[in-house]
Symmetry: C2
Subunit: 393 residues, 2 copies
Amino acid sequence: MIIQGFSFSAVEAAIKKPGRKDLALIYSEVPAVAAAVFTTSTVKAAPVLVSSEHIASGFAQALIVNSGNANACTGEQGMKVALETVHSVASALGIDSTAVQVCSTGVIGVQMPVERVQAAIPALVNGLTDGTLDDIAQAIMTTDTFPKMEVISCQVNGVQYSVAGIAKGAGMIMPNMATMLSFIITDAAVEPAFLKQTFRSAVDNSFNAITVDGDTSTNDTCLILANGMAGNSLITDGTEEGNSFAIILNNVLLSLAKQIVKDGEGATKFIEIKVSGAKNDLDAKRAAMAIANSSLVKTAFFGQDANWGRIFAAVGYSGAEVDQSLLSLSFDDVCMARNGIFAGEDAEARGTEVLKQKDITVTVDLGIGIGAATVYTSDLTHEYVSINADYRS
Amino acid sequence: MIIQGFSFSAVEAAIKKPGRKDLALIYSEVPAVAAAVFTTSTVKAAPVLVSSEHIASGFAQALIVNSGNANACTGEQGMKVALETVHSVASALGIDSTAVQVCSTGVIGVQMPVERVQAAIPALVNGLTDGTLDDIAQAIMTTDTFPKMEVISCQVNGVQYSVAGIAKGAGMIMPNMATMLSFIITDAAVEPAFLKQTFRSAVDNSFNAITVDGDTSTNDTCLILANGMAGNSLITDGTEEGNSFAIILNNVLLSLAKQIVKDGEGATKFIEIKVSGAKNDLDAKRAAMAIANSSLVKTAFFGQDANWGRIFAAVGYSGAEVDQSLLSLSFDDVCMARNGIFAGEDAEARGTEVLKQKDITVTVDLGIGIGAATVYTSDLTHEYVSINADYRS
């Protein structure tokens, strides 16, 4: 896979513990058109504060990212570390500081070992000659059990460009506007305003439609860099090329978002929740998210227990407009309930069979209007509790 | 304990499985002034629909309650069963149907075995001669591990009256306006409008301030009956007697609410979360509930891991107005963080000691205003997952 003009590097900086690559760099030969979506939390990590200021220029040329420490709830010292890191990278690369994005993920409330980060930067920059995007995907993992990557290529008027993305995230996942860490790079030339708009919409349909545990992180960042080095003619809104680009971007982000759910901490199931017949799309998303975040629903899936009543209970408290006598619910193609009541003994046995699968689609129709939404979630398991009971140790 | 004029009965009706008392009756010799708060869910169980209509009269004389089946998501058949049950009880007691309240708790979406309920009613009514309130507290248990009861007595101008309450609930606990099942009886004579108002306020400070798993039930009901048989002069608003009654009622409800949290499914910890310094009380409650409902916070408590950053992260997405540089946090009297950052290595060791306790107070100050709220919750454990993965089996 070649995304022209981008190079990659990852090194061991022993930020949390030695023996794994935890500091990574993505660099574009030329300044890239850039857009980003950050956490909506009011408790924002230092790198989020720095990066959101830098992105205002609409351009970026480098991204430095570490795992093992979130640099969140670290006050002025945390801001100092984030800024010094950015300056060191900018100076080593000979670019402007504002062209550098910085991201962190890991434990909250612990100061970053700034000397170790600084000491690693020369090797990090030198490593750009032979690193790969996969190295970055590996280096940003925390409780992730596999690296998350997606690449799609496309021909536009005889010119090929690619959109590649990586992501990390397994817990503290309930994006609200933005999500965990995800970096998208493309060598396509894309008109800046169109890039921003398609990117936001793709984030809404992907990262903002997943939840593992209902917790929104202090560090959520999703960043896209488009450096134009594929040599295509500029992709703009309202054109066939623009539509293709939007579809590709959507697919890359949705693939990464689903990978995050599949790697949800302790997850044994991947559950797609489709709500239709809502008063409007917002109501549909409310209902779908209430189901996806219900501990009782999630434990029932883990137990392969076709306890559909808990799903209706979640819809009931979701805030969506509901007429309980119009509700229907299916597990895959097995109708479990219609007109608000159980579909019959046969459904129980067949529904239980569906729940033995690894991938399950839950369809809930509210029977009121035409609003619809789809969200993705995982089950709640013993392993989730184990992972999070001693995350810091 | 004597609450004058009330009698009690509980029998085995084999509603879910045989061998335990699962149908109970509370009866007042005379019509009692009554008030109730029901679930705010739009998916309401049949007995909630029936009882909320009956309570409009402001009076009640009997309550029939079953465990093992929620009679929720049961459609017209469910309504028929609830109404027939009420009629049979009314006719056996020789009172008006609208004076009967009906409640159910248990599995959702399964039709009630109406013949078994009907068959048990004669024995239930006959049993009123020798049952106790404790029998009722036992009969309404589902995943509860102990019955929940509180009684407080008081002298008013030489006349003694008592306020007694029972409750059930361990999972699907995140009241919103109302909660699980709780029945309060008193032989005090209380002015109806004052009873309603003090009752609502007591519910807000108790059942509406607890959460086990963030799920609001389809059956939540909290009911109070005041039959006046103590013979006291009428308790009214704005009097010393009224204030005493309000305090007693608050204490009974808060005791029951705390018992529910202590019996939270799989809970090993009781956590009191006090948020102060918020812009207003609503913001304080938002922040406190976000902390109390965070799976990451709850698993960290289970793991006795002083991961205070997760608490700030929850405050950050709570929707409350926050300035992260003003946040402070303590575990009991150990300050873990101030001005948004870690209080130091000493705090880590001392905070970890606090988390080894069974009862923990978390105090978060937002440093902005004078809004305050207290909520109560439990930790999230392996046992919670086990209980809920196979609740129906």
